[in-house]
């Protein structure tokens, strides 16, 4: 810095004004390459203390990579990072954290075998002579938990808690450090709307105290809700920086994808479900006789479900809404035979017992689980293998695979879902989130399901892929498949559903027609359902 003040007084004021105007973080011409892809190409960005900056871009645009470089998880190939004007080269993520740069990554890093307090405080546990003072530690943790609005015991084992609670703890851990730079990479993906509101409140308070916050999210609305400014990356290049007032959602999307997109969440009127159009592989073998329900559930009860009644018609999309912990995922898993339960389940009019995934598949149910990488895909296997896995046994002769038939199945799935892969033999690991999700859906095309269960079908996929997935779900329904969408994203449910069922505390507490439902009506129902047992729409 070339300032050379003449008097002490002016020095102080100068320093103050410099502090106010100089960027806290400067990203200067950063390049980063991974095998086969240029992740970042000379990205330059200046970020100031006391602002919330959104970093937007499609999957693979380099957002997360840039933030991981900033937080010391990767080192750049070229370019420099300056913190308060001084160049920094992090030796590790821990070094960056000590210097006040905190990152909550997309993939939550928690210690599931440790208690909530240990996860929240980590190395900052209060000690006396090196021995942890547990009472004081739990007290500190309690305060953080209160800020987060979490009603859990500080001594509870974290791994035993719901995924969204774990995620909240991971975020709370970073927020409670009061860092100078807080980077939130997809903080809200698994959180409920209330939890999101809590986190945003805490983040705003941090900003007002002078923290620089960088937000990455797939929910575009959140940029408008929280950010002062948005920077947009596309294919590793910075393509724009805008004050949030100067943007609307359509403009943001077109900056991100480089083309105009009709609003993703716009509702498309579906004709009343009826007999399938010919030629569609999902239905050609089905006999579309009755418009009767594909699924009829009565009195479904498990440890987390109470007397659930549910009907899904042929070609109908039914959305299942509810706060986290309302039992959405449990219901999905129960209908796929993964949760022990009592009660009656009829599929196509036939009473079925679902005690395993195999029985559910045999009964005509397909399941797209919430955790794509952990449960949906064998990432190390090819797209071909993932897509055909559900039909291996059926297509094989005497246990020997019929590769010709499988190739047809794989080709068909790739074409129908427009999965972008160089070849069916590409490893699934190499695909973007949206394309991976299409693979998970693709493996159910071949089994010709009557009922498809989609748990958080668009989590962590970019806007363009989201639109495609929505169209795909529409077309599956049009072909006569009954679809249940379990989602924490209300806009998604409103976009897709013919009917929305609201759950609270393991019960169905209400039902709304898809055309009449609004975010408010669903939310009101979900909350009211926690107090009294049933609400009429």
């Amino acid at each position: 810095m070339s300032t050379n003040p003449a008097t002490p007084e002016s020095a102080t004021s100068l320093v103050t004004s410099i502090r106010a105007n100089l960027p806290l973080v400067e990203v200067d011409a950063i390049d980063k390459r991974f095998p086969g892809v240029q992740a970042l190409s000379s990205v330059t960005l200046a970020l100031r203390a006391g602002e919330i900056v959104g970093l937007a871009g499609e999957n693979g645009s380099g957002k997360s990579t840039l933030m991981k470089i900033l937080a010391g998880r990767y080192s750049p190939d070229a370019g420099t990072i300056r913190l308060r004007g001084a160049e920094v080269r992090w030796s590790s993520a821990a070094a960056a954290l000590r210097a006040g740069v905190a990152l909550t990554a997309q993939e939550v890093a928690v210690h599931p075998e440790m208690c909530v307090t240990e996860n929240l405080l980590g190395p900052r546990m209060p000690r006396r002579l090196g021995v942890v003072r547990w009472q004081a530690a739990h007290r500190q943790a309690r305060e953080i938990l209160d800020d987060l609005g979490l009603d859990i015991a500080p001594g509870a084992r974290l791994g035993a808690l719901a995924l969204n609670t774990q995620h909240m703890v991971a975020i709370g851990k970073m927020i409670s450090r009061r860092p100078d730079v807080l980077i939130l990479d997809e903080p809200t993906a698994s959180l409920t709307e209330t939890q999101v509101a809590r986190v945003f409140g805490l983040v705003r308070a941090l900003r007002d105290d002078g923290t620089l916050v960088v937000l990455i999210t797939h929910r575009l609305r959140e940029y408008f809700e929280l950010c002062d400014r948005v920077a947009v990356l596309r294919d590793g290049h910075l393509v724009g920086e805008r004050a949030i007032e100067a943007l609307d959602e359509a403009q943001l999307v077109s900056l991100m994808v480089g083309r105009e997109l009709s609003s993703v969440f716009e509702r498309i009127r579906r004709d009343t479900p009826g007999p399938a159009e010919g030629g569609d592989p999902a239905t050609t073998d089905q006999v579309p006789i009755l418009r009767g329900p594909v699924l009829r559930v009565r009195g479904l009860t498990s440890t987390k479900l109470r007397d659930v009644d549910l009907d899904v018609g042929r070609g109908e999309v039914v959305g299942v809404a509810g706060q986290a912990g309302a039992g959405r995922s449990t219901l999905a898993r129960a209908l796929f035979g993964l949760v022990p339960h009592r009660g009656s389940i009829q599929i196509d009019g036939e009473e079925v017992r679902l005690r395993s995934a195999r029985q559910a598949i045999a009964a005509g149910v397909g399941f797209v689980p919430e955790d794509r990488k952990g449960q949906g895909l064998v990432l190390g296997a090819t797209v071909h293998d993932n897509v055909t896995m559900t039909t291996w046994a059926a297509t094989a002769r005497l246990g020997i695979s019929d590769s010709a038939r499988e190739r047809v199945v794989a080709r068909d799935a790739i074409d129908r879902l427009s999965i972008r892969v160089p070849s069916p033999r590409t490893l699934t690991d190499a695909l973007s989130g949206g394309n991976q999700q299409k693979v998970v859906i693709g493996k159910w095309l071949a089994t010709k399901p009557k009922l498809l269960l989609l748990d958080e079908p668009t989590r962590g996929v970019d806007v363009g892929a989201k639109a495609e997935l929505y169209q795909l779900i529409d077309s599956l329904a049009a072909a006569g498949v009954g679809v249940l969408v379990f989602s924490s994203e209300l806009l998604e449910l409103l976009r897709l559903s013919d009917r929305i069922v609201v759950m609270a505390a393991g019960r169905v507490v209400g039902e709304i027609d898809g055309d009449e439902a609004t975010e408010e009506s669903i939310t009101r129902m979900a909350f009211a359902g926690l107090d009294d047992r049933t609400v009429s729409a």
Binding site: D31, V37, S41, G60, A357, Q375, M389, V421, D429, G434
Partner: protein, 346 residues
């Protein structure tokens, strides 16, 4: 969309011809899935060349036949280990299962059971024990493979000592084990045992590549839960894999007996370590789901040639152990480096 969208991901690279990837070609190859396989092939080729040029006795027919004879049992055991590794497990009890099956075979033969039925009984025994004990405990009851196979390792070896009263059994003159373990055909140059082992590897290759079961092995090893949710019987597939491991251990036991002409209660001790080294060296991932049975076979060939070279050079057995141990560590390091390279993306 991004790394798979070829046009897009390639474009920035093409636009900057001066910015070649920093990683060297060698690192790139070793980081890929076939990397360990190619690397090992080159290493083996270099070793063979060096031996042929510097050690006149190496290429002699007798020495080569000796290497083949010494390879037969490790090849079977490495194949067993490879298929277990593919499911994400490890079978530490192969050596002990080998000793238990071998003892059964010796007891049957010394009780005047004819060789053929004795062999079949032994094979069935190995398969059933592997399937019902290791297999069911690990696959169906979801116990840790590490705990279970360490347990059975100790349990079976103890049974063998109890059963044999720690005495060796003389098996000299038993035609079946002699044929499998010692005899060579085609001008007495090609050991029957080696042919059998290679045949087993070929069969396993076809099973792994072209049957529903074999592909399920890869899928379950890659992600057990996703496989289960796709309708694969992951628990039974894992159980079956330990059954195959037991079957191959039993076959290897008869070969071991034939080669030594005795049934030693200590036979097969630590044999699983060399097998794991060979499989990992050949590119089978410790985490499961990745690798080829040929890689394991190549690993065995490499270790056999190396061991032969060391003994031709007059190095004592202790050095062979030291070198094998060092190679195991290097193989695991390469495995880690490979999976890190695979993960170093977004």
């Amino acid at each position: 969309m991004s790394r798979t969208d070829v046009a897009r991901s390639v474009a920035p690279v093409a636009a900057r011809p001066g910015r070649a990837p920093r990683r060297s070609v060698v690192a790139g190859v070793l980081g890929s899935r076939v990397g360990p396989f190619i690397g090992l092939g080159v290493l083996l080729g270099a070793l063979l060349l060096f031996q042929v040029l510097t050690e006149p006795t190496f290429a002699s027919p007798n020495n080569l036949t000796g290497i083949g004879r010494a390879m037969a049992v490790p090849l079977l055991v490495a194949a067993a280990m490879a298929i277990v590794l593919l499911t994400g497990g490890v079978d530490l009890s192969i050596g002990a299962t080998l000793a238990l099956s071998g003892t059964l075979y010796a007891k049957l033969v010394t009780s005047d059971v004819p060789g053929g039925p004795a062999l079949l009984t032994t094979l069935a025994f190995g398969a059933i024990v592997g399937f019902t004990v290791n297999g069911v405990l690990i696959g169906r009851l979801n116990m840790s493979f590490f705990v279970v196979t360490i347990g059975t390792l100790s349990f079976y070896r103890g049974l063998v000592f109890l059963w044999t009263e720690t005495n060796t059994i003389d098996m000299y003159g038993d035609p079946v084990s002699n044929a499998l373990g010692d005899r060579a055909i085609i001008g007495e140059q090609v050991p029957i045992g080696l042919l059998v082992s290679v045949g087993v590897v070929v069969i396993l290759f076809f099973v792994l590549r072209f049957t529903t079961f074999g592909r399920s092995v890869y899928a379950v090893g890659g992600n057990r839960e996703a496989s289960e949710l796709s309708g694969l019987r992951s628990g039974w597939i894992i159980a079956a894999v330990y059954g195959i491991s037991g079957l191959l251990a039993a076959l290897a036991s008869v070969m071991t007996i034939g080669r030594a002409t005795i049934a030693d209660p200590n036979m097969g001790t630590n044999i699983e370590l060399g097998a794991a080294a060979a499989a990992l060296l050949g590119g089978i991932a410790l985490s499961g789901g990745v690798g080829s049975i040929w890689g394991a076979a190549l690993g065995v060939a490499f270790l056999a040639v190396l061991s032969n070279s060391l003994s031709l050079a007059g190095a004592p057995t202790s050095w062979q152990l030291i070198v094998t141990g060092a190679i195991l560590v290097v193989a695991v390091y390469l495995d880690r480096a490979r999976s890190r390279a695979e993960r170093a993306r977004f």
